[in-house]
């Protein structure tokens, strides 16, 4: 009798461990997926920028500086390694692009150009997608991290050596604030 009880308890314990383990794996995969989504969108943006630059170039003789900044920011973002560095580089690229679009507003010829408008819409959309994908990713990471720390998941995570996940952000907090462009004003 006692043997049966022991077997039943062990079986329940194993089942319980499997459930928690599976839960953690699911969460980790969700985080991974969310990261892929960010990656896809970042790549999309990097691909769109050369198009935009080539279209805009002809019109903006006096704004070489702004354009060059976008190009160099893109190059930096492409070469950045590590989550934090990439986040910083991508933020800089966002800023540079924002400035470029602000300048485009001053060129009526550009504003009426169908091609430019389409590219602008695509880039704005990509920009949003990046920040949205990032939002989701950071939410999931926060969720995953809490799970790793609470009891009893903590034990399972420790036993199977689950690594933690890193936030994708340039700063400590994951709050995506409206990008403040103070430097424009100071020019």
């Amino acid at each position: 009798m006692a043997g049966w009880i022991l077997i039943a308890v062990t079986a329940l314990f194993v089942l319980w461990m499997i459930l928690i383990y599976n839960g953690l794996i699911t969460l980790r995969n969700e985080v991974k997926n969310a990261w892929c989504q960010i990656d896809v969108q970042l790549k999309r943006r990097h691909d769109l920028i050369p198009n935009l630059v080539s279209v805009v170039k002809g019109y903006m003789e006096f704004e070489r500086d702004t354009l060059e900044k976008v190009v160099s920011a893109r190059a930096k973002a492409l070469s950045a390694a590590g989550l934090h560095d990439r986040a910083v580089a991508e933020d800089l690229l966002t800023l540079a692009l924002g400035r470029l679009f602000a300048v485009v507003e001053n060129y009526p010829l550009l504003k009426s150009n169908e091609n430019v408008m389409q590219l602008q819409e695509e880039l704005t959309s990509t920009e949003n997608r990046i920040s949205f994908a990032r939002q989701l990713y950071n939410d999931l990471v926060a969720n995953f991290r809490t799970k790793l720390e609470v009891f009893p998941d903590k034990i399972i995570a420790f036993l199977f050596a689950f690594g933690t996940a890193e936030y994708f952000s340039a700063e400590k907090s994951d709050r995506d604030l409206p990008a403040a462009d103070i430097s424009i004003r100071r020019k």
Binding site: E30, A34, E121, R129, F132, L136, D139, A180
Partner: protein, 542 residues
Amino acid sequence: MPLTFIDIEKQKSWRISFLFSFLLLIYFCLSITLFQSYFILSALFSESGLMKLWNQPEYLLISLAFSLIVAIIHFRFSAFGAVKSVMHSIGASLPDPEDGIHKRLMNIMEEIHIVTGNRRHMKCMVIPSLSMNAVAAADLKGEAVIAITEGLLSRLTRPQLEAVVAHEAYHILSEDCLETTVATSLFGMYASAVEKLEDFGYEDFRGFHPGFLLFWILLKLSFILSMFISREREYRADAASVRMTRNPLAMAEALHLLSRNWTGVGMISSGLEMLCIVSPQTTDLDESEGWWADLMSTHPPIRKRIEILLRMAHASISEFEEKADSKTEIQDISDDGGTIYYALNAWHKWQGPYGITELSTLRWLSPLTWISVVPGRRVERASENGLINALFTNRLNQGKEELSRFTCPSCKHPLVTVSYEKTRAYRCSFCRGILVENDKVPRIIARREKKCPDRIKSLAKAVVTDNQRAVVIKKLKGTDIKTKPLMICSQCKNPMFRTFYSLAYMIEIDRCGVCGVTWFDPDELEMLQCIIENKITPDAEL
């Protein structure tokens, strides 16, 4: 308030199952009552003796079984194809990828899918109507659609459209939408049955039976239930939309636009109003607060929704300020004793800090720009701030325009005296609305110098037809057409009432009864003139 989509997911599972079982219970009760009364009635007419039948337990069992079968069949058909039938009834179609504006909607939809982690596939559709509204629907088959009218699509800026789509997406993800869509299609049948009873039952008393009374009570109960849920979930959807787009002001602006414009009464039937972003038939109840209104109205007051959103905007600007403060020294900037300003530019990015002189040189600053003043940290329109408004007046003065004693009720801008159809009127140089003294209105509409453009003509026709429908529907339901106090008169500070110019010319205008002036939003005066000149009458089909 759910913060992340993970929270929403967690929350919805128990809520939906609870609500569904409750709705189903009501539904079964309804069917049983219906059958009961039918059997009782037929027993009365056949004079075979009511009591004899009533006492047989088999009878009860049979009616129960029968109603169950009918209920299941009805449920199966109404809940599964609900989205298709709703979209068909409002004539929505898929967006055209060649069209720039439609493409934008498709892009936004894609973005929303990303932020929600692709948990649910949502289609977007366009309703070919000039009115301004958005509808979301979902059914048991797993189909979900967000439909937006052409009118709304063309009038909203990108951030505003994002906010609206995010709001609707929340309804779908939280399964609010599934509840309402199914409830709408489930109870639609009974609603029309009862409406008929109300029309004929009382006069012809033989058709009325106590059995129907219970049935009627149950029906009203089910309405109250679905409406109660609807009101608080609008707040939650607003909050979720802000959480997604991080832009409370865009949502507030979109709501403001929706509250002032024609939201498509005739097009969206009263059964579907729970699915809309703003109720197509605004009543006094919708704009009032208190427990009764909370219970009976499908949508919360827009005023209150905007207020909450502005408070959120305040929270987000203080975070921004912290960031900005660390980078610049405030003392350099402020030039009038410590007051500094932040302003929101056309791309919905906060800019600043500025001193008042710096602010006055900004070319993009308009009466409708959102600003945040420190100290105080209130988020408001530039025109609501006395000091900044004085700047605008100054600008107008430099333009050598003749300023009148009136100010614009919507942008608080001083109105410029203009000559309109050879008489005096006051135009807001910012929003292009026109203020006319009441005695001059008949003069203006009697005269016609310029020809009425086709755009105004078709708009007037659509608006008049829609307003006519609204009036007919309200009359059928026995409710009065009441005026809505939406703006404050700039002269006497009394509320201005939004009402029809007259029942013959159904264009909505804002009127101040104390000062005797009428405010026309852009196009409203032209539409009124056009109606009278071209003898435009509403389309009769109803």
